[in-house]
Subunit: 893 residues, 2 copies
Amino acid sequence: MTKYVYNFGGGKAEGNAKMKNLLGGKGANLAEMSGLGIPVPPGFTITTEVCAELSETGNYPDSLKEQVVDSIAKAEKIMGTKFGDVENPLLFSVRSGARISMPGMMETVLNIGLTSETIPGLIAKTGDERFVYDAYRRLQMMYSDVVMEKAAGRKLAQGKGIRLLLEAKMDEMKEDRNVKNDTDLTASDLKELSKRFNEIIEREMSESFPDDAMEQLWGSINAVFVSWNGKRAIEYRKAEGIQNKWGTATNVQTMVFGNMGENSATGVAFTRDPATGENSFFGEWLINAQGEDVVAGIRTPRILSGAENSMDKVMPTQYQQLVEIRDLLENHYRDMQDVEFTIQDGKLWMLQTRTGKRNGVAAVRMAVEMVNEKMISQEEAILRVKPEQIDELLHPIFDKKNEKLYVAIAKGLPAGPGGAYGQIAFSAEDAETMAKDGKKVILVRDETSPEDVAGMNAAEGILTARGGMTSHAALVARGWGKCCIVGCGELQIDDDAKTLKIDEKVFGEGDFLTLNGTKGNVYDGKLPLITPDIEKNEHLKMLMKWVDKTRSLKVRTNAESPKDADRAISFGAEGIGLCRTEHMFFEPERIIWVRRMIVAKTEEERRDAVMHLLPFQKEDFKGILNAMAGKPVTIRLLDPPLHEFITLDDEQITELASELGIRADELKIKIDALHESNPMLGHRGCRLGIAYPEITEMQARAIFEAAIELQNEGIQAMPEVMIPLVGDVCELENQRKIVEKTANEVFEKTGKSIAVSIGTMIELPRACLTADEIGKVADFFSFGTNDLTQTTFGISRDDAGKFLPFYIEKGILKDDPFAVLDQNGVGKLVEMGVKLGRSTKPNLKVGICGEHGGEPSSVEFCHRAGLDYVSCSPFRVPIARFAAAQAQIKNPR
Amino acid sequence: MTKYVYNFGGGKAEGNAKMKNLLGGKGANLAEMSGLGIPVPPGFTITTEVCAELSETGNYPDSLKEQVVDSIAKAEKIMGTKFGDVENPLLFSVRSGARISMPGMMETVLNIGLTSETIPGLIAKTGDERFVYDAYRRLQMMYSDVVMEKAAGRKLAQGKGIRLLLEAKMDEMKEDRNVKNDTDLTASDLKELSKRFNEIIEREMSESFPDDAMEQLWGSINAVFVSWNGKRAIEYRKAEGIQNKWGTATNVQTMVFGNMGENSATGVAFTRDPATGENSFFGEWLINAQGEDVVAGIRTPRILSGAENSMDKVMPTQYQQLVEIRDLLENHYRDMQDVEFTIQDGKLWMLQTRTGKRNGVAAVRMAVEMVNEKMISQEEAILRVKPEQIDELLHPIFDKKNEKLYVAIAKGLPAGPGGAYGQIAFSAEDAETMAKDGKKVILVRDETSPEDVAGMNAAEGILTARGGMTSHAALVARGWGKCCIVGCGELQIDDDAKTLKIDEKVFGEGDFLTLNGTKGNVYDGKLPLITPDIEKNEHLKMLMKWVDKTRSLKVRTNAESPKDADRAISFGAEGIGLCRTEHMFFEPERIIWVRRMIVAKTEEERRDAVMHLLPFQKEDFKGILNAMAGKPVTIRLLDPPLHEFITLDDEQITELASELGIRADELKIKIDALHESNPMLGHRGCRLGIAYPEITEMQARAIFEAAIELQNEGIQAMPEVMIPLVGDVCELENQRKIVEKTANEVFEKTGKSIAVSIGTMIELPRACLTADEIGKVADFFSFGTNDLTQTTFGISRDDAGKFLPFYIEKGILKDDPFAVLDQNGVGKLVEMGVKLGRSTKPNLKVGICGEHGGEPSSVEFCHRAGLDYVSCSPFRVPIARFAAAQAQIKNPR
């Protein structure tokens, strides 16, 4: 016979903390506590398997009833009372408890076993009629709501829930009795009330309130299991990645009462402060109350110690016992615990312990302090903190409690984490002007383009209607660590009228918006922010020291300016993994030469124009190589299609034509000819350098001249030249020859030399499939997983906004593959690329420079795939370092 | 010591026909002939390895000289003469001979060994002074040209070649002597001429003509090896796919003379007629001439038999011997041979035999007749014909000799094979009008769109400036077997002025152009065409019978109309592998509902519009399922992005808006919102059906209702529903559910049912990578290698024209991957897809429906990869059948 029910209590237990999958977190911990000798009200756990079977077949396993009856008897024996007994009745609570905690998502029923038969017995036993009727009215409220209404799928005629009806009746009675608190109602009031409750229930449900203990118990057990498949629970699981098939366990536990008078109490506590991480016992409690009273906030709870009415003063013995249990639990679980306790008539009972939730600051502090206390190892400390909690420490954030009070007016893709508020600007120029006037600005655009960068920089946050996680706005914002939400389809922006419409509400320039870039939420108005000071966080510094000691994966950054490079170094970057060179082309004194290059009619004309760009590029490279002195800098040669540099309106064309000394219509034809149906799959990447070798030559010359000039100044420049968008080894061979030749020319001319490293970006499926051939010609690979995701999925980053959110919402894709590396598809290509590449070049250096390089699960994948480094935007460097350390601990290499 | 030199002659040989890689085709066949006892002038072959070593190191192997000297002695012994001997001199020819014949691409020198010392001896021996001086002036002309000028890389001062100068001198002498033919010059004329030749050579070359036999020999050997790396030879090899590293062998052979008087002759012959394939001995010969005279066309050659002056009459003994040798050779080689022979003073010598080139008609006829003659097996017959020769039999073609007389004025991509001429039309409407007037039309456009199809149909040929091998024009034309050239960048089309400019020449409407769609050549004017009659070609019918018996790969067609389907069946199609459904949407009475569907604001509106399309689609499907009764028809659900259906100018928008009863600006916003940066990677394929399930539902309903209605008429409809662009199994699951549900509804309503087969197009890398998961949910896979190539390479079909031709020209890619399946990259994904798919569904049916399905090397790949069928445009079906049979023979499965 399969064992479906596990008993606990009386200083022993059939389960333990390791059996979370079967008993759920709560059940496993109750068993564990009981096994530790901690006073836990006896009871039993019905396993998650029962939930799974019920979900699947609609029925309970045959032997369940029998096992439950046995277990009831065991609890009765420990307590010396009897469930449903007329003289000495035992009451039960029924609570859910899944493998991973889903707070508030499932149901609870308390005080089960109170019937017209047992009530008198309990009154006789406790001598407290008021307490018993109070417990009964609570059972009525919960049971009618949870079991009779929700679990049964009833809709009441009036549209209101039964709970509201009963609460209204109770309020009516309080008014009638002219009292304020529930506790002011007398025993006879409550007795009267319970009668009225039963009338209302019978009227509304066409069914009377069950007056049989066993019926109440099974109704409650069933309601808990049913609540696993409630809408809210399902949504929560989807958001948290909890699987439906896991199911919940149900815990049936003897009731103990904190509301049996002034010698009774109830409370919740954290073994350390969950908000700051401080090692102090932190909790709240109430005398003469049940647990829900503490949480519900009807009465203001007291603190545990240090106040006049705190527990250490009022109930010193029990407080001492609680502190001992706290130490016992923390030492046993080696982590901060979140406990519930009840004192019934002077006796302390522990109702629950579980690992406590904590924010980022607290998580880091606790982890570091527990190492110092020799409670855990450095590796355990690293695993205790979630990567996203590191993120919390790097960006301004909202106080979670505070944010809950607001309703998001729109939702987009969380492209740049952190929070920001400011006044709306509809153009980059306006944003700059407003920022100069000292205003905080939120730049609101359909999408951004390279011309907008100054305005983006001036803004506190960026909000766009279009684009995906790797759109221009997202990339730029992330690079700066700026709050950004993209692809927010609900925005209706009228640039001319300078209005933003969301639903029916219209915002104008200067109106306040607040963005939560970590979640993608947009709020009306101004929400208060908390700005962390990373420099002063000594716990974080210590943790990151351990992180760097632990990880084997190097972490570089994607940066293209000395300023970005400096910032990235301060975040711990060990080099640049992707220095794009195209944004450098947009500056006004350069763009004209870029355009001359594009419209050149002959190779000579083109070469002349290109060579005008040489001094600019050399200065760019000197700046960034200098900032990264002694660290490798991977410079990617020109990548975007040329038409990106020459999208002009008619007026601009006329102007440019006269500047270039050609006819406007001629120029227009030239520009039109550059048009591409699918530019992402067009004439770009190394295809440019192959068609126009002088571009490659100029860039290579700029790189090596810059490096040699720095060398002359005693600065160690370590450039690596990266050829983009290679799909066939011949492309790399072609470009490699040009770069090598140019390098040698520079070396010959200067009489100096540096190491030449030439590699390629692996960003096309074909590059992965033929990586053995490409590996022979490359000194390094850098996986460009943005583009690789794009072609592997056949999804354009720029257009994905039309259907990708819908896909994720419908569960067709679990994650946005541009944010989280698709290990199942793209990942296979990456693994293939690494394996094939190293099959012909065993010492091939391999990294990743796509946006995934800063996403924890993707970093872990990169570690497992054997990469040498990841590269990400500066603000993600700490998270990547952290994720790399976790990956090393989980998969040592 | 490596053997570099192989002797032949005197009825034996060191080599044989199998040693082509080492001895080249000519050398191997000379050895083979000699081994067969056929009279071959003795000599020796210097191996291809020597060429390779020379190319690589610039030097000959050390032992070569010695081996050559030995071999000269052997030839001398057989002939009883001596190279360089004063009294009885032996002369040599030196000829190239590569593994694969490269006619006219490399050099030849004859009469080597004539010097001031050997000339008198030869005169004494032959008694023919004129012959000897004629031979000497030929040596002078060839040697000075080939060895002293070309191989030495000399540029003469006057810019003319030495050969022209010498020919001019000879013409001058003929004029001076007042004679017409070379043969009219006397011995003393020629003696005088040779002196003048030597003067000119010395003057131009600053070097005197070598007067040493050995120097002449080595100069010639060297010139042959050097000519392997000549520009023309390299280009030829590139075009023919011959590898540079293979090298050429050099054949040094005793000279025999057909020009030693009226008892001497020379000729070339084919053992069967290379133009018709008829089994008759076909050749040309000349009395008193050297081989080059026959080829050069200075004198008109005679035929071998049947004329008054033909060989059977004039030299009956030698003719009889030649006929016997012909039979011997054909029976030995079991194929048609192309031979050269010389009769020196009455003795027949065979100079060369090789497998003869032939056109498509001849290849088919010979292959079939040789089977009937029991010379070869059916399988050999199939391997004897090249797939492209089958193509020749299906389309109008140019007479090759004729085409050579013309120069192409422009070159594009060969998108639709065959030839066509006609008068230029610049719009589809004009094309229709002109065709109605009985004119043959060439439609000239920048690119074509679905609205142009009527005009395209009316035209004989289509010529576009843009687009690649899978552009709209290419796909449509190929589907119709229509001649088409796309991506012809040299065209400058002005639609308004109705002019086409190529270089400086301007064409107007009605001017004639001729297209060679097999090569991509555009000609000015009207070239004569040959139109084959496939129905009357009994040899082809027989061959194709054997083909169908042999192959294991099924061949389907891509068709979307009953007319196309009928044609494809006549070409042997065994089903439809790809029936696109989107073109059906463009017809005027439908497009309005498509547009209503697109602009619908609610699901109800959209459903209403979609359902208006149901009767149309049902009729479409009935038509095609009926045409293909009893054969499977794979119907692909809607694939293109919706904006393709609604690209309108402002006026059309206004019109449509009023039709739809909405505001024009509202409609414009809606249309603008559909715009995509990279539509190929956008909201298309199953992403449409997932976002708008009612489209899938409507199409499924149309398919199954059509099938059931046909069933009621006693017609077996076998639809297969294909979901496009699946990248994740969840997409297929989603769409499969809708199709299954709809099918069941139709079955329930009608009380009838048919087999439901639902599969997917595998056209994204991720689909291949996760084919194990997808396989579980699919009844079949069909590789859409057009799109798969696009994403694997990251190259847009529509934009590839900007750099792909350049890539192929530069040798970065060997073939256009949209024409020839890239086995190295895309092929790996296909293999992975097949393997993974069948790992979870062993009986998964797998096909290919990309354009590669009709390309022979790709068909062979598909066979090897284990596919069940290929599908291609109707006109390519015979070639695909044929290629499938060849594949089966080469790789039996």
